[in-house]
């Protein structure tokens, strides 16, 4: 799958990854006429000024981009395609793409529906009314397509796929822009240093590491890399980002008690797995337990780096198979 940077013109900005299919829209004839007409009717695309062919091209590009919801390489039958298209938020999709095409009716409707909500979301994200209004206005300008490339207006709304709600997409875009703004204004200071994590200062003159600590460092790195993606996300969000159980639960769509139990079980399994790994490396159980009791300040381990770099593959490489279950996980 080709990765195209369509949004960021600056080196440090977050970018939107659009599939190559968007650059070369699929023909509208790829969809059955009856299905396309039904979807067009359901999306009320006509009221947004979006023609049937334009709407069909949008649907075809989205279907091709996400392979109709199937893993890469799988072939979607017509029923699967129809189910995928019907599961989309067709009215939001039609509205977003009509706005991206600059249809006035769509913009009027967009402003009527989302202007107030977008401003409130921007204020909530920025934590300030002034910053929120500025953030919202800047996003409006960007959404309207003031940025041009090759003489064509480029609107982020064109990247909306309709899998989530348009309002959620707007909030995420606002958050993205806010993080970009924060990163631009704090360019010299990485975001990592803004965290409360007090990483030990780098020792200009590295001392020779004892064998137990070397085993421990290797065991930690091996254990964290072996964790499942969701487990690593749990540990990172809870221990690194200091997110609350409720925030994590809302993101994972589980109850916060479930998050708490999973974190507790995960830490226990990590300790057990570390002991096993240390014993496998030649330490006795007592030595392994003593190694686990080492003061973290004596360990030259950047847990943040270990945890966050445990998945070196970029996000765009969707063909990478999911990691296996973490040790100790059922």
């Amino acid at each position: 799958m080709e990765v195209v940077d369509t949004a960021s013109s600056q080196p440090g900005d977050l970018v939107l990854t659009l599939p190559a299919a968007q650059a070369t829209p699929a023909p509208a004839s790829a969809l059955p006429a009856t299905l396309l007409d039904a979807l067009w009717q359901a999306a009320e695309a006509d009221s947004c000024g979006l023609t049937l062919q334009e709407f069909g091209a949008v649907l075809a590009s989205i279907g091709a981009k996400f392979n109709h919801g199937l893993p890469p390489g799988a072939l979607a039958d017509p029923a699967r395609k129809a189910a995928f298209f019907r599961a989309l938020r067709l009215p939001d999709l039609a509205l977003a793409h009509a706005c991206a095409l600059g249809r006035e009716a769509a913009w009027q409707r967009f402003l009527a529906l989302y202007r107030s909500a977008l401003t409130q979301a921007a204020i909530a994200i920025a934590g300030s009314a002034t910053l929120g209004h500025d953030l919202a206005e800047s996003l409006y300008a960007e959404l309207y397509g003031l940025r041009q490339r090759d003489g064509l207006r480029q609107s982020p709304l064109a990247s909306y796929s309709g899998r989530g709600s348009l309002l959620g997409w707007l909030r995420t875009t606002l958050a993205q822009r806010h993080v970009d703004h924060h990163r631009r204004t704090h360019r010299e200071t990485p975001l990592d240093n803004l965290d409360t994590f007090d990483a030990p200062a780098a020792n200009p003159a590295p001392q020779p590491v004892p064998a137990e600590l070397a085993h421990l460092t290797h065991a930690v790195a091996h254990t964290l890399q072996a964790l499942a993606a969701e487990d690593r996300y749990l540990l990172a969000a809870y221990f690194l980002d200091r997110q609350t159980l409720l925030q994590i639960a809302r993101i994972l769509h589980v109850h916060e008690a479930t998050v708490s139990r999973r974190i507790q079980r995960l830490t226990a399994s990590l300790r057990q797995h570390l002991l096993t790994t240390l014993q496998a490396s030649g330490l006795s159980r007592r030595a392994a337990e003593e190694a686990l009791g080492t003061d973290p300040r004596d360990i030259e381990i950047n847990l943040r780096a270990l945890l966050q770099t445990s998945q070196p593959a970029p996000f765009s490489d969707k063909t990478t198979p999911a990691p296996t279950a973490a040790p100790g996980q059922p």
Partner: protein, 540 residues
């Protein structure tokens, strides 16, 4: 610049939004999670993109107005009101069960038509004792059954020689005080005795009789001196006294005076025996009934049966134990009575319930004070044809000259003892006959008028015409009742038997009723009697 924020390595907003909204397929979700675990910036974006409130507060919909009777909102208040109403209804029901009854006047005495032929009507002057219906009081008076003519009362025959033939009446007075009975006195009588007295009326013997339409013949039978003497009260209220017709005898009794001697009774009776059956039983029953509600026996058990003579009250509890209480302590202290009988007592009652007639004269205070002095002696009738009796007649008017009906006229002697009394008829006329010669004081009073007294010197066989004009003044009601219409023709002096009876005769005009006997009935049917509730004798 962080190595984690290079272009092309981060999911776009659409991907993150789909992840947040749980709209990603599993493989994309896993891939996104793997990136989020390694990318703090994307985790921050995801955390910031969360909606402010996952479960937005629902707008406060205006609650639909519910009907006021829906649900259980009123159930508890209604239940509470019902719970409060039940005891109230029960109390009212219990209160209504008491014999409040209409204001039935006490059947004090019955006038009896004279056995002797009446003088010609034309010759009989309209006296103050002429029948004058009182419609105003009729509604208060229970319908009295027509009763057969009374028979001569053996206990109170006429004077020898003219026993039953000559209708005679006696003007008696209380020798002790001689005061008139007024409503002030009666107003002090308790209600309980009023009730008792009202209940006495159904106890009339068949011989009792009242004149049809006259409303006469009502009296209060003072039964046993124990009852009234114990309570010291007689029940006569003003209404009743005013209702007393002027035609017939009237009796007023004041047991309070009997006990204290502070009041007097002016009793005018015929020689016919009063036909009242004693009401002591009724009163005792009522007392027992009233007391039974408040009796607190030492055993703590409910009363099974009670009997009261007014002075002594016996109560039988549900364990068949007998207790006695004197009236001195108001029925608060009870003493157990040792039972001489075998078996269990099932009932206590007053013996001679219906066998103790009490004469009107027994209501006199003197009778109550010294019951032993009474004996069923015949009442001496006025000496006929004595030729010395005088009379007083006249008209009572108001200042404008209008006749005052139903005014009371009382004749007192020099000792200010009532000798005779009368009431004016509808024409304001009155007449008092059979007065012995002497000096009297005539007192006339009527409600709304001032009392007027006038001395009179009555010569033998003289008929004095005394017309009085009452002045409007304080409302004073003097209750003085008279007996049957005068039967003396003063013109012919044919009924000389009508003469005043000296006060000393009063104690002899009535027979002392026998002392009440308590009677206990055992479960085997044996009956034991006792006069005081302490000593018991088996009744054969």
């Amino acid at each position: 610049m962080s190595q984690h924020h290079q272009s092309g390595h981060h999911p776009d907003a659409d991907q993150l939004n789909a992840f947040v909204e749980h709209a990603l397929p599993p493989h994309e979700r896993e891939h996104t999670l793997a990136h989020l675990a390694a990318c703090p910036a994307c985790r921050a974006i995801v955390a910031l993109s969360l909606p402010l409130d996952e479960a937005p507060a629902k707008p406060h919909a205006r609650p639909a107005r519910k009907p006021w009777f829906s649900g259980w909102n009123l159930a508890w208040p209604v239940a509470a009101a019902f719970a409060a109403l039940v005891p109230l209804v029960y109390f009212v029901h219990r209160s209504a069960g008491t014999p409040a009854g209409p204001a039935a006047p006490i059947q004090m005495a019955q006038s009896q038509p004279p056995a002797a032929p009446e003088p010609p009507a034309a010759a009989q002057p309209p006296t103050a004792t002429a029948p004058s219906p009182r419609p105003a009081m009729e509604h208060n008076r229970p319908a009295e059954p027509s009763t057969p003519p009374p028979t001569a009362a053996p206990a109170m025959p006429a004077s020898p020689g003219a026993a039953a033939k000559t209708p005679a009446y006696l003007d008696t007075q209380d020798a002790s005080t001689g005061g008139t009975i007024e409503n002030e006195l009666y107003s002090q009588l308790p209600l309980a005795m009023n009730r008792a007295a009202r209940n006495a009326s159904p106890k009339m013997r068949p011989g009792a009789q009242s004149k049809p339409g006259s409303g006469a013949g009502q009296g209060a039978g003072n039964g046993s001196s124990g009852v009234y003497g114990g309570t010291g009260q007689t029940n006569l209220n003003e209404n009743y006294l005013e209702a007393m017709p002027t035609a017939n005898m009237a009796a007023s009794a004041d047991a309070a005076s009997a006990a204290t001697g502070a009041a007097a009774a002016t009793v005018a009776v015929t020689n016919a025996p009063p036909q009242l059956e004693t009401t002591n039983a009724a009163v005792a029953e009522l007392l027992s009934e009233d007391r039974a509600r408040t009796i607190r026996l030492p055993s703590g058990l409910p009363t099974l049966s009670t009997a009261s003579s007014g002075r002594v009250t016996l109560a039988l509890d549900s364990a068949h134990a007998l207790f006695v209480s004197d009236s001195d302590d108001g029925g608060r202290r009870w003493r157990p009575v040792p039972a001489p009988w075998q078996g269990r007592a099932v009932r206590v009652d007053l013996a001679g319930h219906a066998a103790a007639p009490v004469h009107m004269a027994a209501l006199g205070a003197g009778l109550a004070r010294s019951p032993a002095a009474f004996s069923p002696l015949p009442v001496p009738a006025p000496a006929p044809n004595s030729g010395i009796a005088g009379s007083i007649a006249g008209v009572i008017t108001d200042p404008a000259g209008a006749f005052i009906p139903n005014a009371s006229i009382v004749v007192t002697d020099a000792a200010r003892q009532d000798v005779a009394s009368a009431r004016t008829d509808s024409a304001g006329r009155y007449r008092i006959d059979s007065l012995a010669p002497g000096h009297y004081r005539l007192t006339a009073f009527a409600p709304g008028f001032q009392r007027l007294e006038q001395p009179i010197a009555l010569e033998p066989a003289q008929r004095n015409q005394v017309d009085l004009a009452l002045q409007i003044g304080a409302d004073t009601t003097t209750v003085t009742v008279t007996d049957a219409p005068p039967r003396i023709d003063t013109a012919t002096r044919s009924q000389a038997a009508n003469k005043a009876v000296a006060p000393a005769v009063i104690p002899q005009v009535a027979a002392m009723p026998p002392a009440p006997l308590f009677e206990v009935t055992t479960e085997s049917g044996d009956r034991w009697t006792s006069p005081d509730g302490q000593t018991w004798t088996r009744r054969p």
